[in-house]
């Protein structure tokens, strides 16, 4: 690839919305231009063996793209979920690709791993194997981290990061999220279906953002970085997280226990995101949902500095 083309790709990364892009588009502009090399790509035709039983179409990559690339000329392993195929959900093949990638990084003690989350969680048509895939991935993330590999997660896709995906995210070394990113185990519709609209009104979009959205997760301490909407913003965030993320040891787990105990004590009786933000010291919590990214990042860094030693 010539220098002009590389320059053009890099310029585009500033323009293109992470939320709107497909997984392959994100990858194209996220890594150093032309550096991505896929493992078992679509040509290998490794598809779900189970979706045909339900008369559902398969995808040649099962919605999970894994491979190696370069970020700032340094090697990384990458996994990207396609949220527009089966909601980015973890099926047997989809999950096994990430498991294998993480185990490879573990045993080779590198390179670091970046996961581009975009998932509703376990793929229900493959529920038992999808659930087990999540369990294996969580273990593989922790084993890779213990071997000195950093595993960084990026969240800002259409499907958010829900269900088992949110548990995998919780195991990562560090996370970045955009305004449109959402993290939760139970999605809004699932809570409403099980507990009623009085518990959670899934149609109240503002409520969804205040409870699970990127700004709330950043202020709560559930992610380290809040980023703008472009692919370049995520690229910058990944670079920063890879520089700062901790390895895993007992002290980190003790610090996480203390961090979460402190959260329960401080915010356990809050009824709404607004109450949490007020308790944190935001003078006018009601304006936070409408704030532009730069202003919000400044506020967040003022009232809640990110920690890198307790995840």
């Amino acid at each position: 690839m010539n220098a002009d083309k590389i320059h053009a790709l890099e310029a585009q990364a500033h323009e293109i919305s992470w939320f709107e892009a497909t997984a392959r588009q994100r990858l194209r502009w996220f890594v150093d231009a032309g550096s991505f090399e896929e493992f078992l790509g679509p040509a290998a035709r490794e598809m779900s063996p189970h979706l045909p039983d339900f008369n559902l179409p398969e995808a040649f990559d099962d919605g999970m793209i894994v491979g190696r690339a370069k970020l700032d000329s340094k090697p990384v392993l990458i996994a990207a979920q396609e949220g527009q195929f089966m909601g980015g959900a973890f099926g047997e093949v989809h999950g096994a690709k990430l498991t294998g990638l993480l185990r490879g990084a573990r045993d080779a003690k590198g390179p670091h791993v970046v996961i581009l989350f975009d998932t509703g969680g376990v793929r229900l048509q493959e529920a038992n194997v999808g659930e087990l895939a999540i369990a294996e991935i969580m273990r593989a993330v922790l084993e890779a981290r213990a071997a000195g590999v950093k595993v960084v997660g990026l969240i800002g896709g259409r499907a958010g990061c829900f269900g088992g995906g949110s548990l995998v995210a919780a195991c990562c070394s560090a996370l970045a999220i955009s305004e449109q990113g959402r993290i939760g185990i139970s999605g809004p519709e699932v809570i409403e279906t099980n507990r009623g609209v009085e518990e959670f009104d899934s149609k109240d979009r503002a409520l969804v953002w205040r409870t699970m959205g990127g700004k709330h997760r950043r202020l709560l301490g559930g992610v380290e970085l809040f980023v703008g909407a472009s692919i370049q913003d995520f690229r910058d965030a990944a670079r920063s997280l890879l520089a700062q993320a901790p390895s895993l040891n007992l002290d980190v787990l003790k610090a996480e226990q203390a961090r979460l105990e402190d959260r329960l004590e401080r915010f356990g009786s809050c009824a709404d995101g607004l109450d949490v933000w007020k308790a944190l010291g935001a003078k006018d919590p009601a304006v936070i949902p409408g704030m532009a990214a730069d202003a919000f990042i400044h506020l967040a860094d003022t009232i809640r500095r990110p920690r890198y030693d307790a995840r």
Binding site: A96, A140, A146, V190, L220, G222, L253, Q257, L260, G268
Partner: protein
């Protein structure tokens, strides 16, 4: 099989086991000898932030005491607690942290062993039963990812279709037999003596540091592709570095 059946059958005496609000914590001594740390969820209690933080605290305290005592996890839970408050507080981090503590214990060479004796669903089963080095089940175990009517709603597939599929494929239908076929559950023990015997055998052999659930699922035919896909990607990732 009830929790009392299990505790009475496996342990000599248990003055140090407390049950509070669906959360079980403590220590006990196996009838065959040997102290164990105990955590668990009972009465099909949903696992939310308040429950998970107590369980992870107990596991961490056990780790900090520095003994080699195995950690047993008894599971009869609901799903993750589905509530606005739990999601607002980041329940994924609390449940994830519990799983991390259990997996970390196993990675350090501590034996971690779960006994599934009741229900368990969704996020809760992932961070308890599926976060240990070994998962055994006993009669009465009723694991589910999601019940079929809810699954029908989410997938938009008719309930009748799902019920029919449930008979022919291990891959998605609820039930412990399917979790055996996919490799999640090592074995179903028919009664407490059989469980005690299996535990004695497991504790008497050295721990396998590898996560072999993929191979088990392939052997048993419930998970045809995962082990091979993971292995092929592993080789590519490993040689890439």
């Amino acid at each position: 099989m009830t929790l009392d059946d299990l505790l009475d059958g496996l342990f000599l005496q248990r003055p140090n086991i407390t049950r509070e609000g669906g959360v079980l914590t403590g220590q006990a001594t196996l009838k065959g000898g040997g102290a164990v740390e105990i955590v668990g969820v009972y009465d099909a209690t949903p696992l939310g932030v308040d429950e998970a933080i107590r369980l992870s605290r107990h596991v961490l305290d056990a780790l900090m005491r520095g003994s080699d005592d195995p950690i047993f996890v008894f599971v009869d839970s609901g799903s993750q607690r589905m509530s606005k408050r739990d999601e607002l507080l980041g329940v994924n981090e609390f449940l994830g942290h519990l799983a991390k503590c259990l997996i970390w214990a196993d990675m350090q060479g501590r034996r971690t062993l779960a006994v599934l004796y009741g229900s368990s669903l969704a996020g809760a089963i992932i961070v308890t039963a599926l976060a240990t080095g070994t998962l055994l089940a006993v009669p009465g175990a009723k694991p589910e990812v999601m019940d079929l009517p809810s699954m029908s709603k989410v997938t938009k597939l008719p309930l009748a279709v799902l019920e029919e599929k449930a008979k022919s494929t291990a891959v998605f239908a609820p039930g412990v037999d399917n979790m055996v076929k996919t490799g999640s559950v090592l074995e179903v023990c028919k009664d407490v003596p059989a469980l005690a015997e299996k535990i004695a055998i497991l504790l008497g052999t050295s721990r396998d540091p590898n996560d072999n659930r993929g191979l088990l699922g392939r052997e048993r035919g419930g998970r045809p592709k995962a082990a091979d896909i993971a292995r092929r990607i592993y080789d590519l990732a490993h040689s890439a570095s």
